[in-house]
Symmetry: C2
Subunit: 355 residues, 2 copies
Amino acid sequence: MEKKCTLKDLAKILNLAVSTVSKAINNSPEISQLTKIKVQNTAQLYNYSPNKSAQNLKTKKTKTIGVIVPDVLSHFFAMAIHGIETEANSKGYKIIICLSNESREKESKSINTLINGSIDGLIISLSKETQITEDYGHFEEALKYNFPIVLFDRTFEKIICDKISINDQLAAKEATEYLLQTGCQNIIFLSTISGTSVGEKRRMGYLDGLKNTGIQSSILNIKNYNSFEKLLMSQLQNFKVDGIVTADELSAISTMKYALKNSFKIPEDISVIGFTNGVLAENYIPSLTVVDQQAKKQGTIAARTLIKRLNKKKPIKPVHRTLKTSIIQRQSTFALTAKITEIDNPSGKQLPSKV
Amino acid sequence: MEKKCTLKDLAKILNLAVSTVSKAINNSPEISQLTKIKVQNTAQLYNYSPNKSAQNLKTKKTKTIGVIVPDVLSHFFAMAIHGIETEANSKGYKIIICLSNESREKESKSINTLINGSIDGLIISLSKETQITEDYGHFEEALKYNFPIVLFDRTFEKIICDKISINDQLAAKEATEYLLQTGCQNIIFLSTISGTSVGEKRRMGYLDGLKNTGIQSSILNIKNYNSFEKLLMSQLQNFKVDGIVTADELSAISTMKYALKNSFKIPEDISVIGFTNGVLAENYIPSLTVVDQQAKKQGTIAARTLIKRLNKKKPIKPVHRTLKTSIIQRQSTFALTAKITEIDNPSGKQLPSKV
DNA sequence: CTGAAAGCGCTTACAG
DNA sequence: CTGAAAGCGCTTACAG
């Protein structure tokens, strides 16, 4: 690879000092208009652009944000990344992405490689393992140096930093109440993410929703998709169930898939509501009623919050933002005409009402 | 944010020269065992880790790979990113991700901000706009300096660099032949990505597949999902169609969604085959028969190829790798007992055979 | 085996 | 308005 043109090269060509050239390129008011034009023209001619490593070293800024998420395959995180990238880019930042694959070890390694001058700040959604073990030791060093961190979605109260999330507990309570209002009498909670902060909060929200209804609660935790059908069916065949609140998107879809396969009708026999408004939820038959988690917005706000902090001279108090959720009513549940806006019912079919 | 410990700090504490400390930390054979141990212990004690910007500036390496993809929401690119990240990480590289959002402008900007010392090499899948306009000017500078680039999936022959892809034309031909072999007589090709290299190749493959069969070809290009149902239905209702080769995953799912909604049976009335083995294809009812594009493997090989090049002292000739595809037979088509392995038919139902 | 020096490519306080 | 100098935090050829 050939050598790129440097400030020194330009200085020699123009017969100017390196410092003058630097200032001219950065449009410093110290420099005369004439010189600026001359310098900028030659810079363009030689396709000059400042070396980032040198700039970073000198200015102690990288204009880069680190992002660590559990995975990139689930719609929620992909969408959040999209939001982060868009916002960051519009403010002149690049993003480095690390996937923890739900592993604390990998998360820890990523933090360590990133905070040594590769990035200005970090946006993280915690790995399942980190949340289950509650071992946050790998954050200590970053926190000691006051390294700017924003947690989103899967957060933890003991880590003192900016946090962006939805009110998972309230959202699950509302989802449960929604099923109740459409006439469901036997509602269970199904989760493949028990142990994560959001999984636990949603479970509690479900319990909140059933409080004072006299309805027996029932929780089905599934660790592994291999046993999904077996566990779900043993529940559906041995107990009366007419409504299922699921903790994420894929588990909702799998619930529908196996229920339909085993001749249950949705929503006639069983209503299903899920979390995250993804492409699966939207395109499935029946389309899935979901709690919109505002994935993109969480990403956008996370990036915005971080960049705001980076631009402050003095440390500011941690910011906690809780985004509002809404229920998107589709075909996997009965209709609720009041309150909830019906969007995106591509079939145009009238949603059935429970009598 | 507090100051991090530097080599200079350590040197002062240990009463050694900066150069000695540097070598000790990097385990240079020049340094005595005793000194190494002393230095490494204090380094650990003070939580020392070398400043990346300084290292990058000095060594002219960043151990970072840039990745530019059209989006992160489609399963193919998310999976490719997963492959790239895993491979890169295992070799000690980080990845910076930029999303072109199918825009040439954004792609161009990303290239320019990345190649100025932020990364060692670049992995790109071209944006739709770049491919349609065939304007590759934004690659000129990088190519002039021999900047290491790997193109994957959406490639272009005029850009001289490493390339990883599948044989899209052959894969589409095989998909078409597959439908023929299961008994389809009126097969159309449906695409929402016409104009991209892969879209065109798949279209040609479809035509190849029909050659010498006497079957009339018919191509349905859809630019916008808003008119998807209307265009598809006008085709299905006015012409005899019993097989559809679609150019990607979401368009296949949408095809099934709207066909089912309009009372067509799949595969009895219409067989559908798609590209990309994503979570939609796997979980839909009926599950979708697809050409497995080897998303993760394309990513892995792209990263591996790039890193191999980065480790070479001398420039080597561009590498072109074409990965083998396979058809994953599911429920959206009739069964073909020979040749093709049936995997992932979660329902366990026997696939119907066309008589 | 240890250290002094140069230099990667920038920016910026200071001098003239 | 222009320039000489110092320095960001490293690495590495060279000297001793």
